[in-house]
Symmetry: C2
């Protein structure tokens, strides 16, 4: 029986990989241009790292296994916890604010479906050591520019704020487990449970209606001022929180990001988010349209840190790659500049010599290594999308010049061996 | 208790990562320039894939685990088997020869030591569909250029040939398990066992001496002709094999690789190697000096392929990174072109506006997001190795120009906001 690829995983062929590496390059360039630095962590971690931090839903999806020394290990389901572990043990020595990013694979055991895989890639960033508005705004802008730089046109940034929701719940004496259940229900869009919790805590139908309006209405950033006034009417203690939220939003606009949405229904599913949260959707992806999520969080307790403000985001790399295809953006292909065809063992030496000098100059060069005939070689060069083919036969060897064929037109021209490099520098 | 990184694994800080991504970039560029295309496969595979193919030593080191559906999975210990699995199921449809490369992490449960980790990275390539001399020579040259392009000076390519050893053993009626044991002993340098096997098969002391000389003497490529004649004296049936070996060696020389070593002691440890084999050592690494190994192999049986000539190599990426440091090559650092310092909330908008235009032009730009005072900001910019600092205070806002400081000299110059982009294009 032939051996199969494990369920829920993927192989990537040359067309897939060239697109993925291009997107990775764009994300990395954007990160570097924002002054973020890359870090790396192991593919597996002590299982405790994720069991302590994650909700039960994620724990159920963990790939947990024992090594030969009976350590409980886990294939990482995400990268924020490993990065903060790394910070707590070593990176804390670096000057703050620390701006770091990562690109890596993660693993979740869930039912495979479109846009969801058991091994998937995340590109993400963490901003450590400041919770000032300009820092959080820069982080959000950085995430936005990642999606933008790929060329995706139809995407939406949504900004929310858990601090504001928590403040409202606090004024209503909804704390602890009850508050946690509330956010779990909000994350799932489970309105019945939300209503039940509010009723149980003795809220009036008017209160409940006001709150539901808040978390069910998305509005454009331009309306924030007006909405703020009406919110303050209902919840006067939100003053400070709303002022900060507005400041972050204003700072985001300074990055030429004028069109985004305020959405108080963003709960982010994980316990550790604390304040401003955000998500980015790409419309063309349909049901699985969210490509980015992040916000302010705290892992101080888990890592015995004191007062370390942190915020971050993760981008679902595979979904962005999917969106790239669905938006019909320019096809990224493996290029081949020059395909060299030597006709005999005697001409091979000259062919290799030319290939060495062309590659040294940065050209992508392939060569016949199967000893095929002319028509098969031309067919291969055409299949490989070669821009030029170069023939070197006995005649060419004698005359000291190669026959260069432009593959798209079939036009042929003789070019002296010593002039080939200059020739291709001009035409490619 | 704080959670530790798993034993034998590593975290990579920003200095590590910028070097690793640079090396990855150099390897990938070299691969592409040779007309190789990248592929990717999952991090874990069906355990059978490696159990069937690998010797017992590797099986002992496998990270095997069960998923929730009780599949036996394994973290890949190497990438050739996954790539050929991919070939057998899908890539076989592409035109031959197929030239593919990969860069990925692998896992072996072994005692951690310098240059050996439980998670390590391999860069490698497979050439599928030809066993002609020029193809194998191109593959060897490609591996050589990978090490060369990094800037490592003191490295040695060694070329061996299992076909020749197998032919000799065949003429002595050493086949099957006995031959396998022989190669295992050769791989380990276990001369006593080698001698025992030869004696058991009735070889004369002279035969044994001749064979030992062959596998114990390394010689430079320049001596191959002379050695060939003496080998043919002893083993006339080697004629065809030696001619092919010489042809491959001659083809390698055509790539301007003039100085390499012939070494018949290379056994490559794995059953599936068939013909020409090679290794590359970097002297500065000491005991763990081998950074590359490869050769001609066959996995036809494992994947139910018919007559598919394959050759390939893998480079130990971590060892190359280690060698880079040990050879004292140019330090690769995270660069920061410009650090912008706004002095107040009022100047922040202008600062962000400038950062957006500079980043768009490709500059690496960071900005104060902590609201620090001047001296702290300059210290931070200096720690981050910024080339320039740009101050924007109230005066600057009013006069329409920023104060630009060259961090290395302390020289300061006023530059109009609208001229900043052009200014930095000139000086950076």
């Amino acid at each position: 029986m032939t051996i199969q690829r494990p369920r829920g995983t993927r192989d990537f062929n040359p067309d897939d990989m060239v697109l993925r590496r291009k997107l990775e390059y764009l994300f990395r360039s954007t990160a570097l241009s924002f002054g973020y630095h890359e870090v790396g962590t192991p593919t597996f971690e002590d299982a405790e790292l994720f069991i302590r931090k994650s909700g039960p839903e994620i724990v159920d999806q963990l790939y947990i296994f024992q090594d030969k020394a009976e350590r409980q290990l886990v294939l990482r389901p995400e990268l924020t916890a490993p990065v903060i572990r790394f910070y707590a043990s070593e990176l804390y020595k670096l000057p703050k604010p620390l701006k770091i990013f990562y690109f890596g694979n993660c693993f979740r055991y869930e039912r495979p479906q479109k846009g969801r895989y058991r091994e998937f890639w995340q590109f993400g960033a963490e901003l450590i050591g400041t919770n000032r508005s300009e820092g959080v705004a820069e982080l959000v802008a950085f995430a936005w520019y990642c999606i933008k730089c790929v060329g995706i046109k139809n995407f939406e940034l949504r900004l929310g704020n858990l601090e504001i929701l928590k403040e409202i719940l606090s004024t209503w004496d909804i704390f602890g487990t009850e508050q946690k259940d509330f956010f779990t229900a909000l994350d799932k869009g489970d309105l019945d449970t939300l209503k039940l919790i509010l009723e149980d805590s003795g809220r009036t139908p008017e209160d409940i209606q006001t709150f539901f309006t808040l978390v069910q209405t998305k509005f454009k950033i331009g309306e924030l001022k007006e909405r703020k006034i009406s919110l303050l009417d209902h919840f006067p203690t939100l003053d400070k929180h709303l002022a900060r939220f507005e400041e972050v939003a204003e700072n985001i606009k300074m990055y030429n990001i004028m069109d985004f949405t305020i959405d108080f229904s963003i709960a982010r599913g994980l316990d550790y988010y604390t304040g401003i949260v955000f998500e980015i959707d790409v419309e063309s992806l349909g049901a699985e349209k969210q490509v980015c999520g992040g916000g302010e969080y705290s892992l101080d307790e888990l890592f015995e840190l004191t007062d370390t403000p942190t915020s971050g985001f993760a981008i679902g790399f595979d979904r962005v790659a999917l969106a790239y295809g669905m938006e019909g953006l320019e096809k990224i292909e493996n290029e081949l500049d020059i395909f060299i065809i030597p006709f005999s063992k005697e001409t091979l030496k000259k062919a290799i010599e030319i290939s060495v000098s062309l590659r040294k100059a940065g050209f992508i060069v392939d060569m016949d290594i199967k000893g095929r005939n002319m028509s098969k070689n031309l067919k291969f060069a055409s299949n490989r999308n070669a821009t030029f083919a170069v023939f070197i036969g006995e005649d060419e060897l004698e005359s000291g010049s190669a026959l260069v064929r432009a593959m798209s037109t079939g036009d042929q021209v003789k070019v002296g061996f010593s002039d080939l490099l200059e020739y291709f520098k001009k035409v490619i």
